[in-house]
């Protein structure tokens, strides 16, 4: 399958989370994902957007850019913000770590992304955070 890509930008608001995960799900449908694969990807996208909504813009609401690329049976998703960044990525990736312990947060967001996707990369460069995730969609036998 030839390479395909899309990019959208929307406000980092919690109400845009269902929109974001369903956009990704719709975009990757030509790869014929299973329901489980769709659920995995939707959950990982939701975790990444939640991080932006909760952490990236403490003063004002900013924007999140979501880029999705498909090639052959592989999906790559980038969630990009221009917020305050992550000071200590290693600590942020630690299961159960949360910088907001008083807000009933599980600190499991990155752990879920890592578990539900095949690849996770987190980059914080002073002008925001990029979360890049990849997952191979299992090729189905025709007719099944």
């Amino acid at each position: 399958m030839k390479k395909n890509s899309m990019e959208i930008k929307f406000k980092a608001l919690a109400e845009n989370e269902p929109f974001a995960r369903n956009v990704v799900a719709g975009f990757i449908l030509p790869l014929n994902p299973s329901l489980n694969e769709l659920d995995d990807i939707k959950t990982a996208v939701s975790e990444a957007i939640t991080n932006v909504v909760v952490h990236a813009y403490p003063q004002n609401t900013g924007y999140v850019t979501m880029k999705v690329t498909t090639q052959d049976n592989y999906v790559t998703i980038s969630i990009v913000d221009n917020g305050i960044g992550i000071q200590d990525i290693e600590r942020a990736l630690t299961p159960f770590y949360t910088s907001k312990p008083n807000e009933e947060r599980s600190g499991m967001g990155f752990t879920v992304m890592e578990s539900f996707m095949d690849k996770l990369e987190v980059i914080s460069n002073g002008s925001g955070v990029t979360v890049k995730m990849g997952k191979a969609i299992e090729k189905k036998v025709a007719g099944l």
Binding site: E15, E17, P18, N36, T50, P95, S106, F116
Partner: protein, 103 residues
């Protein structure tokens, strides 16, 4: 998100229907807390997730928050019918250690 409750044999059954994420979490917290405060005559809670169509790790935070409130009143919470992904997130987070799964 719709939340319904009924009491049978001193057990408060709560059915969550819809999606639980950062967007719906505040309302879910508020509704559950109101139910847990106003319902009378129950000694334990069963959260039925059979109609929960989506949940991310925000749901774990919501459930742990309710667990802490009910622990003070000595009322255990059990989980039943989680989806495949909810189950994975619960196992990953160790939630079943404090809110056991029942069949």
């Amino acid at each position: 998100m719709q939340i319904k409750s009924r009491i049978v044999n001193k057990t408060l059954y709560i059915l969550l229907s819809g999606e639980l994420d950062e967007y719906t979490a505040p309302n879910v917290r508020k509704t559950l807390d109101t139910m847990l405060e106003t319902e009378k005559g129950f000694i334990q809670i069963v959260l039925d997730l059979s109609e929960l169509t989506f949940m991310d790790s925000t749901g774990v935070g919501v459930l742990i928050g309710r667990y802490k409130k009910m622990r003070e009143k000595n009322k255990p919470i059990f989980i039943t019918n989680p989806s495949r992904n909810a189950e994975r997130i619960f196992k990953m987070s160790g939630l079943y250690e404090i809110m056991p799964k029942i069949v």
